[in-house]
Symmetry: C2
Subunit: 212 residues, 2 copies
């Protein structure tokens, strides 16, 4: 199994942590997004959307979209369970994962797209006013998360799930590349963050890069 | 089972079509978003995010996020299968569903948020330049879909799935409320659209409202 990935990009990291949690061996293939290698005709045969990550299965088929890849892996390697067991839990974890995506990641993404690094790439039209709105939304959402973590150890109840991976990679990206690190006063959020960094899977993927 | 819903809002419609496809009886409870009924303290106990739809289970628990509700329903009522059977298909349908969301719905959402109806509500900061960008992205994506439908009968391969419901409700919303109806020249896309409207579930939810 091959995972096409790039440096510290957050979506490939999501899958990398998921693979480590499952204990699955794989080959990582770097695709240099800065050189546009994810937009070449050859790469578009793997993923017509021209995005990372992409998983190449042993039989040569491909899957794109980080959570779709994780869901495939969950079906092939059911333990440890990261998406839920009974019907309600499957729905609840999906709900929490999607809230992290639609309510936080979407706003981090807006701040990234309209921020200085992407502006230098010259691939999107930068709208500073849009960044002001999304920056503010991200900060408000961090405060909501802090209130939620006062009563919940993890994102989806009382155990580690894919929703924690989604939140962690989002916050890590926001902190290191988008200038949106959560305020130190949000102690519940930081307590959860420390719990995440203590995991071997996270240490391998997030800390290894940050210390290199 | 109760579904908290509102008029022709696209996310509740997604779940309504899904319920019809599964042949599940439920009670629809209208929550008047124009009166802010989805933001009352009482409703926030059902869904702290203050969004529709929300499913209330027979035992009084709640689930929010349309696709999370659908995934719960798929686990409780497995037939007809709408999310995939084997591991690869589970991943593939998730991938296609997410592409419809992240590549099309997200842009329709931007055009909606920065468009005239939401501007009148006065709840978001309207950025006309952002709408120009997303309008253009939606039109380009319709053209991509048209090319894809030249070779594929459905969104995720050769059968009807949740990814078709996601695309249909997105295009219906864009056409009726966001001023982004696909061009008549996109004949493959319209061929797929006619195939959707011929389904009883879609006829009950989409056509019933449009003709009322």
């Amino acid at each position: 199994m091959k995972l096409y990935t790039y440096g510290t990009a957050p979506n490939p990291r999501k899958v990398a942590i998921f693979l480590k949690e499952k204990g699955i061996d794989y080959e990582a293939v770097e695709v240099d997004m800065m050189k546009g290698e994810h937009k070449t005709p050859e790469f578009l045969l793997k993923n017509p959307s021209g995005k990372l990550p992409v998983l190449e299965l042993a039989d040569g088929r491909y899957l794109a979209e980080s959570i779709a890849i994780c869901r495939y892996l969950e079906a092939e390697y059911p333990e440890p369970n990261l998406f839920g067991s009974d019907a309600y839990e499957l729905g609840f974890i999906e709900m929490r994962n999607r809230q992290m995506e639609t309510e936080l990641w979407s706003q981090i993404g807006q701040s990234w797209v309209h921020g200085p690094i992407v502006a230098k790439m010259g691939i999107y039209r930068t709208i500073p006013e849009a960044k002001e709105v999304s920056d503010s939304n991200v900060k408000k959402y961090y405060e909501r998360l802090d209130r939620e973590f006062a009563d919940n150890e993890y994102v989806a109840g009382d155990r580690f799930t894919v929703a924690d991976i989604t939140l962690l990679t989002g916050i890590d990206f926001a902190s290191t590349l988008v200038g949106l690190k959560p305020d130190a006063a949000l102690t519940n959020l930081w307590r959860w963050h420390a719990l995440m960094l203590a995991r071997e899977s996270v240490d391998d993927i997030i800390n290894a890069n940050e210390n290199s």
